[in-house]
């Protein structure tokens, strides 16, 4: 088990313990990496890509980003393989261990999968890692043959000396390559020479997902493992009061009742006994100050907060003056509700606490935080906490939180041996970290021709970033809450965007597929539609006229409109709505939704046509899949999604009252791609963000009713 480092500024090269090969990564520290990347946290390896090539020629790509359906476990290997000159069929994937130094997402500076950022920020670093490895393997071959490296070429894991036809596989070269200096500079391929990037390559994670062998963290099984399920205080901030566990303990298979200050868990041989045990507990909760709160209280406070000016996030011209002098002034209040994630895999985490260490099995979008919280709860040093990530059965921002890991470790501290803590669906719905309730005031001034000369947008809601990544909350501004709002593309002479931070401490709030952009796009694109209506102009033409400086936005608008048959007649009760999304994700997306509204207010979405320009594309099929899925996620949220509070308790509990979209309700979805070589934009969340306004605008087109408060259907029924 020899380990060598080549102590250069940017790389560490290590002979791995298993078979000796080339292991390469970007580094920041100077410590040795030993074992394999997953067997131990490789200290001192640097933040981006990891490649391991065994003497058997096996190429392993260690992916620091989590796979939650969005396709990173295919996109990242594609980026590496393209430059490494191996086929995707020659690559295997490994989950990365927790390590902020090695796997930091440049967006936030720590290991994080979210914000539609993985490809956007790691497109080039992953390619560089592949290119550096290839160049070292070629150099190793050239050295062995005593020829000029320029006379060798690499293809499908084999280096060939072109003049003589001599060939050596990467496996045979790995040992020598590992001893070579790492190039300080690498040459990346010209995109015109790509053979993999930009192709609809088959996903690497799917074969195991169609035959039951894929391992989600809920599937973890360990010798002697118990299974626990938990009930936390139904009111945030509440505490466990009296507990009678007599009946629960009498249930066959129940082994232990674990009390925490704010929760109780039943530990059993299997989930059935644990669930029955939980149901048999007689619990009295001390609700605390939130025990009387209802949604109406939250909204009242938001409304009050919205009366005051906020911190100015974008200012252009004098919006107040322009508004005052406008021929026509339009104002509106928009509201979006609390939303639950309902990832189909409920939160779960398996923990084994021993005196000298702790092991955690979970699915996380913030793996290093899972490790840190386990260390904190157990009091163990970080290096004594091993965390195994898994495939995530849905993320949508829920697994950007580590509350369920913290709780599982607290429970496991009281349990002998490993314990898997699994939340019921009811627990998941009622103890989520919800998309905040946002309350927005918008106003616009139109000139005599109906053109907007002033735009003001004051958005009111909590700052997720101030809690989740405090350094990112600066000057009173939450860049995530404002995402999209400050990116308004419409060419309006006077614009003012303000942010009023107003916390909603009665529930936990967090990220939900596009959070800021999803909320802001609904407001902006609904309101611009209102302005078009006020100006008695076609919503598409109205937008196009304001986008003279945004050719990419114009192009997607025109493409989507053309494909959707914009302007063609629809029967009564049906309507077409259009919406444009642009934000810090650097992706331009337009959706044209076609809906039918029944007299009783039911909305049927028949068709959604999307056009997207997300710059350079790694895998066009994944882009399409993400838009399709994002649109479907958005439809359920926009039509029905709503979490409400009564007496401090969430009123919903399972899929009978948390309505999500089903196959019989899903529209025909078309996705049209704009291909170019711009920098890659995000694609995981845009489909969701663009959907609600497209639907609301379609409802307006269908029946003339403007809905400014989500979800749509209850508003249509009460209107």
């Amino acid at each position: 088990m020899t380990a060598h480092t080549v102590s250069r500024r940017d790389f560490v090269v290590v002979l791995t313990a298993t078979g000796g090969g080339l292991m390469l990564g970007w580094r920041v520290g100077d410590r040795l990496g030993v074992e394999t990347a997953v067997a131990a946290t490789p200290p001192g390896f640097a933040p981006n890509a990891f490649i391991r090539i065994g003497r058997d020629g096996r190429v392993t790509v260690i992916v620091g980003q989590a796979e939650m359906g969005q396709g990173t476990y295919t996109a990242f290997p594609m980026l590496v393989a393209e430059e490494l000159e191996v086929g995707l069929d020659q690559v295997q994937i490994e989950h990365a261990p927790p390590d902020d130094k090695l796997y930091a997402n440049p967006l936030v500076g720590f290991q994080m999968t979210g914000a539609s950022s993985s490809v956007k920020f790691l497109y080039e670093p992953m390619r560089r890692a592949g290119a550096a490895a290839r160049s070292m393997l070629v150099a190793a071959a050239a050295q062995r043959w005593n020829v000029d490296a320029a006379s060798c070429r690499a293809h499908r894991g084999v280096v060939t000396h072109t003049p003589t036809g001599r060939r050596l596989g990467y496996g045979a070269l790995a040992h020598r390559a590992a001893t070579l200096p790492v190039p300080t500079q690498v040459t990346l391929k010209d995109p015109k020479d790509f053979t993999l990037i930009g192709t609809p390559a088959k996903r690497l994670d799917t074969p195991a997902k169609v035959n039951g062998t894929a391992q989600f963290s809920i599937d973890v099984r360990l010798p002697g493992m118990r299974i626990a399920t938990v009930a936390a205080s139904p009111v945030l901030g509440g505490k466990l009061g009296e507990l009678d566990d007599t009946k629960a303990k009498a249930i066959a298979g129940v082994r232990q009742i674990v009390r925490l200050d704010d929760a109780v868990a039943v530990v059993a041989d299997h989930m059935w006994a644990a669930k029955q045990g939980l149901a048999a507990l007689v619990i009295r909760w001390d609700d605390g100050p939130n025990g009387t709160v209802s949604t109406a209280d939250v909204v009242r406070e938001l409304d009050t907060a919205s009366q005051q000016p906020g911190v100015v996030a974008r200012k252009q011209g004098d919006a107040a003056a322009a508004l005052a002098g406008a021929a026509n002034r339009i104002e509106a209040v928009y509201q979006v509700p609390f939303l639950a994630h309902t990832t189909l895999e409920p939160p779960n985490c398996t923990v084994y606490v021993r005196p000298d260490g702790c092991e955690v099995w979970t699915g996380s979008q913030v793996l290093s935080r899972a490790q840190a919280t386990a260390a904190k709860v157990t009091g163990l040093p970080l290096e004594k906490v091993v965390v195994h990530n898994h495939l995530l059965g849905g993320g949508f921002g829920r697994r950007l939180e580590h509350d369920y890991v913290t709780q599982a470790v607290r429970i496991a501290k009281q349990v002998e041996g490993p314990v898997k803590v699994v939340w019921t669906r009811e627990e998941e719905v009622q103890h989520d970290v919800y998309r905040p309730y946002y309350y927005d005031r918008v106003a616009a001034g139109l000139d005599a021709r109906g053109q907007p000369i002033a735009w003001t947008h004051r958005l009111v809601g909590p700052s997720i970033l101030a809690r989740w990544a405090p350094p990112a909350f600066q000057n009173g501004l939450d860049g995530d809450a404002l995402d999209g709002a400050v990116h308004l593309l419409y060419d309006i002479p006077a614009i003012q965007v303000e942010y009023v931070r107003h916390e909603e401490p009665v529930v936990n709030t967090g990220f939900w597929r596009g959070v800021g952009v999803t909320h802001n796009t609904f407001v902006i694109e609904s309101f611009i539609d209102e302005l078009a209506a006020a100006a008695q102009q076609d919503p598409l033409e109205y937008r196009l006229a304001l986008l003279g400086k945004s050719p990419r936005a114009r192009a997607v608008l025109e493409l989507a409109a053309k494909q959707a048959g914009w302007g063609t007649k629809l029967p009564p009760g049906r309507g077409r709505g259009i919406a444009l999304m642009y934000s810090g994700w650097d992706t331009y997306l337009v959706a044209v939704a076609e809906v039918a509204v029944s007299p009783s207010g039911e909305v049927r979405v028949n068709r959604v046509v999307c056009a997207v320009d997300c710059g350079s594309i790694v895998n066009p099929d994944t882009v399409k899949a993400q838009i399709e899925g994002g649109v479907n996620f958005g439809i359920g949220g926009a039509l029905w999604g709503e979490i409400t509070l009564k007496n401090g308790r969430v009123e919903q509990s399972n899929f009978h009252n948390v309505r999500v979209l089903r196959i019989n309700e899903t529209p025909a979805i078309e996705v049209h791609l704009v291909r170019n070589s711009e920098a890659p934009g995000g694609i995981g969340e845009p489909g969701t963000a663009v959907t609600a306004p497209a639907l609301a605008n379609a409802v307006f087109a269908a029946i003339g009713k403007r809905i400014r408060k989500l979800p749509l259907e209850p508003q249509l029924r009460s209107a």
Binding site: G69, V210, G212, W272, G394, D621, N654
Partner: protein, 153 residues
């Protein structure tokens, strides 16, 4: 003691009679391909076959199984319809996170086994009990149709 026939194999388990098949499979037998999603037959993630009929294993007590044969996602590829469905799922790249897909495939296979050429309405009827939060529905529909096409003589 209860003896269950799971994927063609007799398995004897010592579990309460009211224990749902889901937990017997996952926590006792160790077949974790069948997923827990809701516990109330609302999401379909736990779908398995009982003598070829799709059932929600999260609400089916082990006592209700009797002598019927249980088939799970781990063995569905051994049936003609299951194999076609899995193939179509891969060909059309249906899957995203994948958590619901065991149940989707079990429901789709049961549909195709009794209805070789399902209409859109048939697909809605058979599949609307299976939630996919990633929203892969269009591809699920297309893959069922492709699998059906492959089933034609």
């Amino acid at each position: 003691m209860t003896t269950l026939n799971i994927n063609g194999r007799d398995v004897t388990v010592d579990v309460p009679a009211d224990m749902p098949v889901l937990w017997v499979l996952r926590d006792v037998v160790g077949l974790t391909g069948t997923k827990f999603g809701c516990g109330m037959a609302l999401c379909g993630a736990c779908t398995v076959h009982l003598d070829g009929q799709p059932i929600r294993s999260c609400v089916t007590p082990v006592a209700a199984v009797g002598g019927k044969k249980i088939t799970t996602i781990e063995a569905i590829g051994e049936t003609a319809a299951g194999k076609k469905v899995q193939r179509a799922w891969l060909d059309l790249e249906v899957v995203q996170c994948g958590y619901c897909q065991s149940g989707q495939i079990m429901s789709a296979t049961a549909l195709l086994a009794k209805n070789a050429h399902p209409s859109d309405a048939d697909i809605d009827g058979a599949m609307s009990g299976n939630i996919c939060r990633c929203g892969t529905y269009s591809r699920i529909r297309a893959a069922i149709k492709q699998a059906a096409k492959g089933a034609r003589p």
